[in-house]
Amino acid sequence: MLYDVLIAPFLDMADSPVFFAEVVIVGLLTGVMYSLVALGFVLIFKASGVFNFAQGVMVLFAALTLVGLMEHGVPTWLALILTVVIMVVLAYGIEWFMLRRLVNQEGIILFMATIGLSFVLQGLGETMWGSNVKALDIGIPDASFEVSGILLNEFDLFAAASGAVLVAVLAVFFHYTRIGRALRAVADDHQAALSVGIPLKTIWVIVWAVAGMVGLVAGIMWGAKSGVQFSLSLIALKALPVLILGGFTSVPGAIVGGLIIGVGEKVAEIYWGPLFGGAIENWFAYVLALVFLLFRPQGLFGERIIERV
C-alpha cells in the first residue's frame, strides 16, 4: 500500500517523461485560468479589504454580456469594447449603490453586501441575455500541435500568454504608479488615505472596473473553453484554494497559486487518482489549501500581519 502511494507513481513518471511533461503543461495552462479568476479577487481585496464574493458572477456577467452582444449581430471588436464600457459602468454603479453607503463598515458587512451583489448580477445577466448555454467564439485558433513529442494546444497557449501580459501590466501598475500606490494606501488605512488627498470613491471605481476587466478576460477564456453558462460563476470556488495558497494580497501569489493548483490537481489525478477511485481533481485543491492553512496561513506571498505590542 505504502509502495503504491509513495513510490509507484514516481516510477510511472520516470517511465515516460514525455507524458509527464504533457500532464504538467496541461496543468500549468489550467492553472493560468485559475489565476485569472483569483486575480480579480486579489485586486479588490488589496484595494478595499473586501472579499468580493461576486467575483465569480462578474466573470459570468462579463462573458454573458459579450456573448449576448455578439448573438445580436454586434461584431466581435465592438462587442468587446461595449462589454468593457458596461463593466466600467457597473463599477460606477457598485460604488454608488453599495460601497458609498458602507464606508467605514466592518469587512464582514461588505462581504455580505457582495453576496447580495452576486445574486443581483446573476439575475441581471440572465434577464438581459437569457439563461441557456451559449457558445463563445471570438476567433482564437484551437488547433493542437506537437513540439518534440509533447502535444500542445494553441488556445491554451493563447490563454496563458494573455494571462501573463495581464499580470505583468498589473504588477507594474500596482507597484510603480501613483494610482497603484493610492490603491495600496486605501487598502491599508482609509483615514490616512483621505488625509493625503486620495479620493476614495474614484479609487473604488477604478479597482472594481479593473476587476471587471480581469473578470472579462477570465470569462472569455473559460467561456470559449466550456461555454457560457451559470456554472461559469462556480469556478470562483476554485479560486479560493488558489488565494489561500498565494495569499489574498499578492498578485504574483495569485499566479503561482493558480499554477500550483493547476499542476497539482492534474498530476494527482493521473498518478494518484486510481488509488482513490478517481476524480481527485475535484477536491485535491481544497485539501492542499487546508494543509497550507495549517502551516502557512498567510499564503506563499501574503503579507504577514505585523503587530507591535
Partner: protein, 264 residues
Amino acid sequence: MTENTRKIGNTLLRVDDITLSFGGVHALNGVSFEIKEHEILAIIGPNGAGKSSMLNVINGFYHPQKGTIAFEGRERKRMRPHVAAEQGIARTFQNIALFKGMSTLDNIMTGRMLKMKRSFLWQALYWGPALKEEIENREFCEKVIDFLEIQAIRKTPVGKLPYGLQKRVELGRALAAEPRLLLLDEPMAGMNVEEKEDMCRFILDVNDEFGTTIALIEHDMGVVMDISDRVVVLDYGRKIADGSPDAVRANGEVIDAYLGVSHE
C-alpha cells in the same frame, strides 16, 4: 528659545465659533482662534479638552454643528478631507496612521499624490510623461528622506519600524505634500528624550527653512514652551487662553485647568 527671525504673516486659517458635539457630549463649544502664516501654534489642554477634535474639524474628518472655518480667506461651514489636502493642509495622527504594508519611500510618495496629475492611462502604461513625473516626485521624496535622516529605512515596510521612526515617516509623508499648513497631533507622544529632541529640531527646521505654518498638539510642556510662538489652551471644549508661551504659563485659569484646583 526660538529667536524669532521669521516674519509672522497674516491670518492663514481662522476658526470661528466652532461647536461640535457627539450626542450629548460637547467636544467643542464656541471655539475661535487664528493661525497666522509662518507661525508655530501649540494647542494644549488636559485630556478630553477637544484638541484632537479641533484638528479633525480643521482637516474635515469632523463636521461641526456650528461655526465656520476660513482657510486663506475662503470661509466654509465644513471642510472635507480631500479638499483640505488639495488646499495644502497636511497632517499626522495621534495613533500613527501609516500604510503599514508599504515601504517608507512608498508611504512618503503617497504624500505626493496631489502633485501628480498625469491621467490614468499614462499611469497604466507607466511610460512617457507619467514616468517623468514619477521620477521628479521621487526626487522630491528623496529630499524629504534626507531632511528627516531616514535614508537607511527607505525600503523597510513601516510596520516593522520602531514607534519613534514611524512618527518620523508620518511627518515625512505630510511634508512630501509641501503643505501650507501642517497639523501635528502629538508628534512626540511616547518618544524618549533623544527622539523628542530630534523631532523638535525637525519641526523647527521645517518652519524655518520652508516657512511652513504649523499647528501642533503636545503634552510635553517643556517642548511646547520651547518651540511655539503662540499657545491656545482648551479645557472642556472651550478656549480658556490664547497668547505667548510666557503669558499662558502665568495664566491663572490655565494653571487651574491643569492642577484642578479652584482659584480664588
